[in-house]
Amino acid sequence: DVKVTQSSRYLVKRTGEKVFLECVQDMDHENMFWYRQDPGLGLRLIYFSYDVKMKEKGDIPEGYSVSREKKERFSLILESASTNQTSMYLCASSFAGNNEQFFGPGTRLTVL
């Protein structure tokens, strides 16, 4: 069974704080993705990675950065959190050449 885990289910941070969201998958997937999920907007891709140390911007990368130092781990970083980054963040992973994505449980981030 594919397991994608995210470090926190709920997170509350203050404006201006640096925030780290961690995602780990245990199926040796090459691809990893970070989305934010907002009502009425669906899932929007923030960043994705095809391999270790490789990253590409998605549709809404502004205000975010990512890190992939190991194949199983993909981190999303909010350098200076703002209230408009309050959202549900979903991590996903997939094999290269297979477009079925497996999702983590999500992290609900609130920025005060």
């Binding site: 994608v4 691809n31 009425g40 907007l41 669906g42 899932l43 891709l45 998605g58 290269a96 477009n99």
Partner: protein, 110 residues
């Protein structure tokens, strides 16, 4: 530009009634289309993809290239079908990157 549109935010039906969740896409080539589902308190998961032409949990979806649609259908809705449904598209040579629609919440009333 590639785009997926789900025109209904909320669809409410009674148990046993037919269900159709609409999905329209904008893409110039031959995309792969998917439906993902998120049940309450569960993670998002793949429901079905058009290339497999399967029926999953009684749901089917046919890709209509002429109308650029990929509507999800079920002849008799069940209460356990209540969930959030997302249509998604992968364009050619996109390396697994998906574009999701806005989502439709399906509520099946007893």
């Amino acid at each position: 530009a590639q785009r997926v549109t789900q025109p209904e935010k909320l669809l409410s039906v009674f148990k046993g009634a037919p269900v159709e969740l609409k999905c329209n896409y904008s893409y110039s080539g031959s995309p792969e289309l998917f439906w993902y589902v998120q049940y309450s308190r569960q993670r998002l998961q793949l429901l079905l993809r058009h290339i497999s032409r399967e029926s999953i949990k009684g749901f089917t979806a046919d890709l209509n290239k002429g109308e650029t649609s990929f509507h999800l259908k079920k002849p008799f809705a069940q209460e356990e079908d209540s969930a959030m449904y997302y249509c998604a598209l992968e364009g050619y040579n996109q390396g697994g990157k998906l574009i999701f629609g806005q989502g439709t919440e399906l509520s099946v009333k007893p």
